[in-house]
């Protein structure tokens, strides 16, 4: 049973008044989600009772810390249905996960004449690492087109696959359009053309069930902070054989088997990719976040967000001058990015904030996509398991108020 009122009780921040008399209405979960008490308390408890460095200590605290750190990995692996838990590599965030692949698999496998494919709807995190590497190695990047409605153009993709790209790296769900790409189909096509695939799951894994084996994804990247978990930790999932063949990323403690003055040998998975003291408390918090999401149920979360999305789209489309990017709720997650006549998104967001309503304004780290639509910025409302239709009402009322300021 999904009861949003009960869920809201788990999130202490939702009681906050952000301005006198104005309770928080948080519509910015695509940027970072709020955290339930169980996640906050898990880290609190870790620091109060079990804190120690992991792996190399044989005392009680070090053992507890190591067990908690690894138990969280096992939970995450189960959550995305990874074959083995050692295929779950802890990183700082989605961005670092993608950079890791670029700097290891990419550096090892991409040559000057190669081609890789991204899409026109990528977040900067899935563009810039490849641009940086391409300027060093000389391979080309093509961006799979999107249709005017904001969906991936599968025909264009098929055309590009004929050119035998080495890698196809795409977002499962756009953080601006909300568009959910047919990941399984895209991966099948990529594999048939001989390409490796990386799925940017930053907006997918938090919002609906993602199964790496069903997708047959080669790599999957996501961040804890967008899925009711803490900042400072993310994940790279990879197929075992790929990860095994990749050279290490960062060098230092824990990622080695043996170090001599003359050289080192790398550790086994997953440690090969986890150099230095990792984000231990954050892993514990991430584990608690997985527990929380599973207790609610990812299908329930998906369904609830779709209800909120449809309700919101219905109301916002009636507001004069509002233009939504991809207004079709069918292939779309809980994200509404829009323009509002001539009113700059910063002004929209700032005036909404005075009623306690938190939305984001800008290019949402998808500048090329905005350029494609010939708009410098949009206002974005995004939803998660704790949002309600009443909050949507307040948001739409707020838009009418904004309109009054700028006549």
């Amino acid at each position: 049973m999904f009861d949003v009122a009960l869920i809201r009780e788990d999130f202490p921040i939702l009681n906050r008044e952000v301005h006198p008399g104005q309770k928080l209405i948080y519509l910015d979960s695509a940027a970072s989600s709020q955290k339930p008490l169980s996640v906050i308390e898990s880290m609190n408890d870790y620091y109060r009772n079990s804190n120690a460095n992991i792996h190399r200590g044989v005392h009680k605290l070090a053992e507890e810390a190591t067990e908690k750190y690894e138990a969280a990995r096992t939970k995450i692996a189960k959550f995305i249905n990874s074959e083995k838990s050692k295929q779950v590599i802890y990183t700082r965030n989605t961005t670092e996960s993608i950079n890791l692949v670029a700097n290891t698999w990419g550096r090892q496998n991409l040559k000057a004449d190669d081609l890789i494919l991204l899409t026109q709807m990528e977040h900067h995190s899935n563009i810039v690492p490849w641009q940086m590497l391409s300027s060093q190695l000389g391979f080309s990047i093509e961006y799979i087109k999107i249709t005017p409605e904001g969906l991936l153009d599968i025909e264009d993709y098929k055309q590009l696959l004929v050119r035998e790209p080495k890698l196809v790296s795409f977002t499962y769900m756009s953080n601006v359009l909300g568009s959910i790409n047919p990941a399984k189909e895209l991966i099948q096509l990529a594999h048939a053309a001989g390409a490796i695939t990386l799925v940017d799951g930053a907006q997918a894994v938090p919002h609906f069930p993602v199964d790496v084996q069903d997708l047959d994804a080669d790599f999957l990247a996501f961040s804890a902070h967008k899925m009711v978990g803490p900042t400072g930790i993310g994940v790279l999932y990879g197929k075992f054989d790929l990860l095994k063949k990749m050279p290490p990323f960062l060098g230092g403690g824990d990622m080695i088997k043996e170090v001599k003055f003359s050289g080192f040998s790398a550790n086994d998975l997953p440690y090969k990719f986890e150099a230095g003291t990792p984000a231990i408390a954050e892993a514990v918090g991430f584990g608690a976040a997985i527990d929380y999401l599973e207790s609610v149920g990812m299908e329930n979360i998906d369904r609830h967000e779709n209800v909120i999305l449809r309700y919101a789209l219905g109301k916002i489309m009636d507001v004069p001058d509002v233009k939504v990017l991809n207004s079709n709720p069918k292939l779309k997650g809980g994200v509404i990015a829009f323009t509002f006549g001539k009113i700059h998104p910063h002004d929209v967001a700032q005036i909404l904030d005075r009623s306690g309503i938190a939305v984001r304004a800008g290019h949402h780290c998808a500048q090329p996509l905005h350029e494609l639509f010939a708009i410098p910025a949009t206002t974005r409302a995004s939803f998660y398991l704790y949002n309600t239709t009443q909050e949507v009402d307040a948001f739409v009322d707020g838009l009418y108020k904004v309109k009054e300021y700028f006549k």
């Binding site: 998104p345 910063h346 700032q350 005036i351 800008g362 290019h363 708009i375 410098p376 006549k407």
Partner: protein
């Protein structure tokens, strides 16, 4: 940010006094803030005593970027160029009378960056550091 937002910023945004381009100018510079698409162009006329005798701005963007440009020109017209060179982040905050917050500070500072880059004859406004 408090209620001054509406009064000061919105007023200058909706009814700017110095919007446009000077026909006669000896300084012109433009720049944009890629983060939010704000764009400001400033044209300036200085006299023989190095005073700013007239100035106009043009561009588009959020109310803070545009209103601050208007307020800034209001202030610098008839001022000595040397005085303008000394202006910093704090001068802008004082001028507009509100703390724009960490995120929108960039919008508020764009016009001063453009103005100083023009006066110094720089090729890029990035070289202007308004912290000091």
């Amino acid at each position: 940010m408090d209620d001054l937002y509406r009064e000061v910023i919105i007023e200058h945004y909706n009814n700017p006094s110095h919007r446009g381009t000077l026909e006669n100018y000896n300084v012109r510079f433009e720049d944009n803030n890629p983060l939010c698409g704000d764009h400001i162009e400033i044209t300036l006329l200085t006299d023989s005593e190095n005073r700013i005798s007239d100035a106009k701005f043009d561009g588009h963007g959020c109310s803070i970027s545009q209103a601050t440009a208007d307020i800034l020109l209001d202030y610098v017209i008839n001022k000595d160029v040397e005085e303008v060179k000394k202006m910093t982040k704090d001068s802008i905050i004082e001028l507009i009378g509100i703390e724009p917050g960490p995120v929108r500070l960039k919008c508020a500072l764009l016009s001063l960056k453009v103005l100083k880059a023009g006066i110094y004859g720089l090729s890029s406004a990035d070289e202007i550091d308004l912290d000091e």
